[in-house]
Symmetry: C2
Subunit: 357 residues, 2 copies
């Protein structure tokens, strides 16, 4: 089985093969944008942390784990309350197995990671249920700084992969998608996606909108990750290939980018099949509705794992995040590994981690 | 005239041509490490700022100018009290004219630049005349973080160029060189190099040494730039070519690297002829004494400029800094420009700046 058999294409399908063909001979660079929205503190909205107080440590801990193989800010790697691990396990396995370098960018994380990272000075986002997420000038700064970082990183690589770690980010993504006029249903890190809760929050937040200016919509109901990554995409896609690595949250980036401008010819979105096959979301149709770009979903074959913690991803827990899907796609394109090879590597890493802990 | 005629080789001369040959077809990445030592606050030690209170703004302002073409932290670009501009003018001209990307790293600058930069959380260094520059653990962290950044950046490029901006840094460099047992005389940003003052400071600082452990010597009499860049060099030179861009301060990096280990085969040092021809210093013999690497000095031909602000560099003011020499060398290798072409571009930038101001 070749890795291409683990890929599913949608969006502009005819462009997907061209995109893979274009990036295959070149170098990849993975960038992880960590951020925070107080929206994640609404009970029941995310399980990205062992308990309420530890959610804010998840983004820096994800970043530390990618660098060190363990975390500094917290003792163990980020987990759900019942012990299911962060998708960063998949990202780390993918990047290491194919020697793809990576760099961490802090765009509004409440806690800084204990490693060298690109700093932006941007603040975390406020809870969109109760107040504006950001000021208009914060949105502008996020976009502008994103452009600087995107231009820089793009000039160092043939394919810039952008992933994120922002707990609660699917809710703000849903708000942005709806606020910008797209018919979005979104995925979640929880199998019984708390659709009603999310919709209630988003509907309430959208009532505050008084303008159809995309920057103003972002300020009201977004988070600091979306405008920053959009700025990165906007500048980087003028120079090199860009793969947005993620599900719902990257469709929100794509939606905002469709308003402020980006180069569709150099852009693709890459995620896991757990996102694209999620019936509670509408990832496939959403991508096509927003932009004329290819989308790739990879099936990492985790349902065949001997470890319940890895099987969980295939059962709807933390289906995506930390750029896992896009990283796996890039690693397969670069190394030629298929899902069987990938699973063996992921199990080795999983075993190392949980023997260590 | 080809650009090679603007180069002078020393150190391991036979390796210099190989180094140029190896890097010519590849990509370059310039990294600027900004830092601070309170040693610069000793009156008369540096002119890297319009007055005493503005010295600390020079490193972030240099970084901002490279990104934006103007500064955010201060109104004008960094200048000496009598209006001679920062060597960042040369760096910016070099990088832009040859489309070399760059990234800023804060390793102990007192002031953060107003742009996205790689953050390390490292503190500025103390005045070595009166106290230890850093703690031993700060030195270790600087080296370790330097290694992480070096490994990362190295994997994104075929040649990593490392420059610095740290006012007063030639004095701490002199202290490190002597502390590590090298016969150093050092250059300065001032034509009448305040040799006696520097020697008095260094001699006093060296009296505090109680150990010949290089980490301990760094903690006593160094600054946060030297161990960080040494860590970068140590990790990056295992992966790719590295050019240390600077004079005295980069020989201090080389001296520390010779103690903690680095790959000589992948390393070169690049500076301006204003450094290598400085009789008050001994750059050429120092490089050979420390390591078996090639050194390249470029004559940018600024003595032929119509602008006194550019001619000043050739007259001993700010002979080097912000990686100017290494950037010019890299830009000439990449673009094929010789010093005549370079001077025309530098004059255009100078004119833009001083018409704008």
């Amino acid at each position: 089985m070749t890795y291409l058999e683990n890929f599913e294409f949608f969006g502009n399908v005819s462009k997907a093969q061209d995109f893979i063909h274009a990036i295959k001979p070149g170098n990849f660079l993975f960038s992880l944008v960590i951020s925070y929205t107080e929206t994640c503190e609404i009970p029941g909205i995310t399980f990205a942390g062992a308990d309420k107080d530890s959610i804010k440590f998840t983004p820096p801990a994800d970043a530390e784990y990618l660098y060190y193989g363990n975390c500094k800010t917290i003792d163990k790697i980020p987990m759900t309350p019942d012990g299911k691990p962060t998708p960063a396990i998949l990202t780390k396995t993918a990047l290491e197995s194919s020697s793809i370098p990576h760099i961490v960018i802090n765009s509004g994380s409440k806690i800084s990671p204990q490693l060298p990272f690109i700093n932006t000075g941007l603040s975390y986002g406020r809870n969109i249920l109760v107040e504006s997420a950001m000021s208009d000038s914060q949105v502008s700064q996020a976009v502008n700084y994103g452009r600087i970082v995107g231009r820089n990183l793009a000039s160092m690589t043939d394919c810039l992969i952008i992933g994120e770690s922002i707990p609660g980010g699917t809710t703000t993504a849903l708000a942005i998608l709806r606020g910008l006029g797209f018919k979005a249903k979104v995925s979640s890190s929880i199998p019984n996606n708390p659709v009603e809760l999310k919709n209630a929050i988003v509907n309430s937040a959208l009532e505050r909108l008084t303008s159809d200016d995309p920057y103003n919509i972002m300020a009201e109901v977004g988070d600091p990750m979306i405008p920053f990554v959009t700025g990165m995409l906007s500048a980087a896609s003028e120079i090199t290939k860009v793969m947005l690595a993620g599900g719902t949250q990257m469709t929100a980036v794509l939606a905002f980018a469709s308003k402020i401008g980006f180069n569709e010819k150099n852009t693709a979105i890459g995620t896991t099949s757990y996102i694209s096959n999620d019936d509670s979301a509408n990832f496939k149709s959403l991508v096509s509705e927003i932009a004329d770009i290819p989308a790739i979903a990879v099936n990492p074959g985790l349902e065949n794992s001997q470890f319940s913690g890895l099987r969980a991803f295939s059962q709807g827990f933390a289906k995506e995040g930390v750029g896992a899907g896009g990283s796996i796609i890039a690693s397969m394109i670069k190394s030629g590994n298929n899902s069987t090879n990938f699973l063996a590597l992921a199990e080795k890493e999983y075993h190392r981690l949980f023997t260590l802990l």
